[in-house]
């Protein structure tokens, strides 16, 4: 490929963008909207996953020791718990700490429990966290059979429901992003295809004049890449500004609901969107040309 050809390809691509002004803008508009929708879904999914992670990591197993157990046996039990498969961390909570926690969870109503201090019936316990939420019930069963363990408790139904819900959210997220990707690819490719459709006549003539398929397609490839990259950049810019505005507002308004403020994954999404735009633009512009080349 000589320099002459290279300049020709770029000149063609740019002048075609200019000559097909309306079509170019329409395509960019569609690219921007598609990528915005895809990008927003991805951000929603990331936040949902992050929330699910938080919820899951707070699921613990309470292990209550037999009442007549000695101090040293209690310590020993704690050490053994740490060795159970799937256990992440073990924390000792004394009877009085348990009451404190309980009161805390009561919030404003805590004085209702004032009477309890004198005859605290809450037992000592170990709070066991598992490596993964799906292991909770298995680990609990194992622990129940251990010596010195009176009772094991974890939010049976609730944990399972939570797990279901978070795994649902994850799956739904993957499905959502997948569907949105397909939709975005379809929308962008269709739009570009249509804009090329209206140039069928030109493409055929070029072929009749002895142009190779490659020669005809390269400018379309470049043109699509330019459109796609431009659309990608604009949508990422909008998404970036919009999302950071939202994060600022939400994170300061709700201390209990924190959006993912930045980080690797979000940067990947932004870069990914621009790349996706460029790729669909380039490929989507040069593939549909093919059908008009068969003359």
């Amino acid at each position: 490929m000589s320099l002459d050809n290279l300049t020709y390809y770029f000149r063609e691509a740019f002048s075609s963008l200019h000559r097909n002004f309306w079509l170019s803008w329409a395509s960019i508009g569609v690219i921007i909207i598609s990528l915005l929708i895809l990008g927003s879904s991805a951000l929603v999914v990331i936040n949902a996953r992050c929330l699910a992670d938080q919820i899951e990591s707070s699921v613990e197993i309470s292990v209550f020791a037999e009442e007549d157990i000695s101090e040293s046996e209690l310590d020993e039990l704690g050490d053994k718990l740490k060795l159970v498969n799937g256990v992440d961390s073990v924390e000792f909570v004394s009877s009085s700490e348990a009451l404190e926690k309980l009161k805390e969870s009561f919030g404003e109503k805590k004085e209702a429990l004032d009477g309890l201090e004198e005859r605290n019936t809450l037992p000592d316990s170990y709070q066991v966290k598992t490596v993964d939420t799906s292991l909770v019930s298995g680990v609990a069963e194992n622990i129940e059979q251990m010596q010195g363990v009176e009772k094991v408790r974890y939010g049976h139904g609730v944990v399972e429901k939570l797990m279901k819900m978070t795994s649902w959210a994850r799956m739904a997220g993957v499905v959502l992003v997948l569907l949105m990707s397909i939709a975005a690819v379809f929308l962008i490719a269709t739009t570009i295809r249509m804009s090329i459709f209206s140039r069928q006549y030109e493409i055929e003539i070029m072929k009749y004049l002895g142009a190779t398929n490659f020669f005809i397609r390269v400018p379309f490839f470049l043109e699509g890449m330019i459109l796609g990259t431009a659309g990608g950049l604009v949508s990422v810019a909008l998404l970036f500004l919009g999302y950071h505005g939202l994060v600022d507002k939400v994170n300061s308004a709700f201390s209990f609901l924190q959006l993912v403020g930045g980080g690797q994954l979000i940067n990947y999404i932004f870069v990914g969107l621009v790349l996706l735009g460029a790729i669909i633009g380039a490929v989507g512009s040069s593939i549909p040309v093919k059908r008009f080349l068969k003359v």
Binding site: D4, S16, Y201, E202, M206, K207, G210, A211, V295
Partner: protein
Amino acid sequence: MIQMYNVSKIFDNGVKAVNDVTLHIPKGDFLFLVGPSGAGKSTLSKLIFREELATRGKVLFNKKNVARYKGKEVPLLRRNIGMVFQDFRLLPKKNVFDNVGFTLQVTGKGRREIKKSVPAVLKMVGLENKSEMFPKQLSGGEQQRACIARAIVNRPPLIIADEPTGNLDPVTSRDIMSLLLDINRRGTTVIVATHAWDIVNSMRQRVVALSAGQVVRDEEKGAYDRCR
């Protein structure tokens, strides 16, 4: 240069546009293709150009069956043929200069060469003042001449002109025909499908007459029809 053996072309809708044509066109020939409207002149040209493929029979270009040109080779075949299309086929979004320069562009010619050759050819067909204009802004005859300029600019070994003077006045028509004859004298094979009986009669070149897809007459130094 071109050999056709028992070539027939039957279109999808059953129309037999070319019917069992056998024809030899040696290198350096100047040939008029004549015949009533719908006789099959354009279809015959399209068979050589590989715009259409023969339903039956063989079309050889430089001893190679044009049906054998596949994919990437088709452009190479077409670059050897300067075609003046009956329906012009100018690129609507390129101006006259770029339209004519396009045939040079596709063979990878540099800008310098294009800037030298194109104006010279435009001058030959009398469009030197129209190089910045777009096809839509040209008169019918000007479009036709742009099309002729495009066909000759890269000096192909074969020129096929399908009704190249249908939109031209008699004076310009004669100029164009002399131009084609001139190019022919320098060794280029030229095929002209035309209805311009006056020019055919005055030029006394080989005439192949088609009727309903069949060759009904093939004469050296012929005339448009027998009666004149």
